[in-house]
């Protein structure tokens, strides 16, 4: 692996076919190796589009994305993704779900076995390896999904609102778990969420995005020692800051939209 940042997004933008407004204006940012970065914002702010571009599942209209020193043209082994609804393969056992990416990359069987077991141990699920996804709780499924990504030993871990479908308790537990796992494995992480406290708690850097059109409106650095505590006053303060900024943005967006509606109504 060469030096330089884990990820460099340069002027990437996207407008979807059946929309008159850009889903994402030209956006640039950088993620250092081992850095935890969150993209936060209301729905429609382009954070999932941005993540899709980094994953190589969505092509930007212009601009470029460079991951681990290589331009992104499609999915790559260096980047692993965790989806909102876990997106596990229901017909495979937990073990085989985690093994899937290794099979796709033709990793030899013995090595696959070892790496899958390590990954499952990391998320504390080595005892349910032979179960099927539908036999697990939502939180366990999401942990399998994290193991499925980590088993690829990614330089960059991409997470698309991974905890948003979970109940509050499970969510808190998993957020803690994720911090621990990240401290043990230290990939660069791009974490998409609309939960401000979650973002502040986990991240080194938080990019706040706004909608209509989607863009980064402010960037926060969270310089707190780890492991962190969710009740840390600095976190709460940061959350307040972000919330205020977001309120102003959303209000502005609503006003702009109302203006457009008036114009088109004429």
């Amino acid at each position: 692996m060469s030096d330089g940042p884990a990820l460099r997004v340069s002027g990437a933008c996207k407008t979807y076919e059946r929309s008159d407004q850009a889903a994402l204006l030209p956006t640039s940012f950088q993620v250092e190796r081992g850095e935890f970065v969150s993209l936060v914002g209301p729905s429609g702010c382009g954070k999932s589009t941005l993540l899709g571009m980094i994953a190589g599942l969505i092509a930007p209209d212009s601009g470029s994305v460079e991951a681990l020193g290589e331009p992104v043209t499609g999915p790559g082994a260096g980047r692993a993704m965790v989806f909102q609804d876990a997106a596990l393969f229901p017909w495979l056992t937990v073990f085989h779900n985690v093994e899937y990416g290794l099979r796709a990359h033709r990793v030899p069987k013995a090595e696959r076995r070892e790496r899958v077991q390590d990954a499952l141990r990391l998320v504390h699920l080595d005892d349910v390896a032979s179960r099927h996804p539908h036999e697990l709780s939502g939180g366990m499924r999401q942990r399998v999904s994290i193991a499925r990504a980590l088993v690829m030993r990614p330089g960059i871990l991409l997470m698309d609102e991974p905890f948003s479908a979970l109940d509050a308790q499970t969510r808190t537990i998993l957020t803690d778990e994720l911090q621990r796992i990240w401290l043990e494995t230290r990939p660069a992480v791009v974490f998409v969420t609309h939960n401000l406290i979650e973002a502040a708690f986990l991240s080194d850097t938080v990019h706040l995005l706004s909608s209509g059109p989607g863009r980064i409106v402010k960037t926060y650095d969270v310089d707190l020692p780890r492991p962190r505590d969710e009740a840390h006053p600095a976190l709460l303060e940061l959350r307040h800051d972000m919330l205020d900024r977001l309120r102003a943005e959303v209000g502005g967006a609503i006003a702009r939209r109302a203006q457009i509606a008036e114009v088109t109504a004429l």
């Binding site: 994953a55 190589g56 599942l57 499609g74 999915p75 790559g76 082994a77 980047r79 692993a80 993704m81 989806f83 909102q84 609804d85 997106a87 596990l88 393969f89 229901p90 017909w91 495979l92 899937y100 990416g101 099979r103 796709a104 990359h105 099927h132 996804p133 539908h134 036999e135 499925r148 690829m152």
Partner: protein
């Protein structure tokens, strides 16, 4: 029915449970059997009253005894065996070919857009229309019948495969792609298992299409043994009891395969794929 009518004091619990089970069983037998019983009763009544000439509608008992005679004297068992073998073979070939075509071409827009409308169009042509062609290619024999049966299954299976592939959750496909699955590996390890639950429904449909094509072809190519030939024999010698006996056999085979095979398969797939409540 209620075996535990009185019920001793000591073993009342067990007896009640037994009587519950007996009642549940009786209820199930009634639920599944009342219509058949009713039809048989009305059928018997009409023939016994002499309202209809027996050569137009033979009595249920006569059809049953004809069925017995067919088994003992005409070796209907070998006809049934030949038909079932052909059915299973034709169906299996059609299923494999249809699913393979769907999987191999469904990955590409161009391939699918070119092929799918043609198969959909062919689906409106009765399969039996291809029998003369099959006879020229495969000879005037069971092979031609088998080919027509396989083709009759192939068309709906290919369409069902295309349809099922469009139903697969995009997130699941995205997850697979993000993990590095591509091309044939993707179709084999992700697309195929993902469509299995919807394919089970397609399998049943394919089975009924196979039956249709097979019977129509067997009636025409009667050289080889088969139920269709017996059906045609009954028609030709004006023996409606033979025709009804064969229909009865086909009906029973249909019920048995549905209950013993398809229902179980469906249940297994639903459990394995977590489609029934995760209990």
């Amino acid at each position: 029915m209620s075996a535990a009518g009185g019920g001793g004091t000591g073993s009342a619990g067990r007896l009640t449970r037994a009587s519950h089970r007996a009642r549940a069983l009786a209820l199930e037998v009634f639920r599944k059997g009342w219509f058949v019983t009713l039809v048989l009763l009305v059928w018997w009544l009409i023939t016994a009253a002499g309202w209809v000439d027996p050569y137009k509608l033979p009595a249920p008992g006569d059809v049953l005894s004809t069925l017995g005679t067919l088994f003992t004297e005409r070796a209907l068992m070998s006809d049934l065996g030949a038909t079932l073998l052909r059915l299973v073979e034709g169906w299996a070939i059609g299923v494999v070919a249809g699913v393979l075509l769907g999987l191999l071409t469904g990955g590409s827009r161009t391939l699918e857009d070119g092929i799918r409308p043609v198969i959909a169009g062919l689906q409106s042509v009765p399969t039996i229309a291809f029998l003369p062609l099959a006879i020229l290619w495969f000879g005037f024999s069971g092979t031609a019948v088998l080919a027509v049966t396989a083709f009759g299954t192939f068309k709906p299976m290919a369409l069902a495969t295309y349809g099922a592939m469009h139903q697969v959750s995009p997130t699941l496909l995205m997850a697979g792609r993000a993990l590095g699955a591509r091309g044939l590996f993707m179709q084999r390890t992700l697309m195929f298992p993902a469509i299995v639950p919807s394919l089970v429904t397609g399998l049943k449909m394919g089975w009924s299409f196979a039956w249709r094509a097979l019977m129509a072809a067997e009636i025409i190519v009667t050289g080889a043994a088969g139920l269709g030939g017996v059906l045609e024999l009954g028609r030709e010698i004006g023996a409606i009891d033979v025709v009804m006996a064969v229909i009865l056999v086909i009906l029973v085979v249909g019920i048995v395969t549905e209950q013993l095979f398809f229902t179980r398969l469906e249940r297994w797939v639903n459990r394995r794929w977590g489609l029934v409540g995760a209990r």
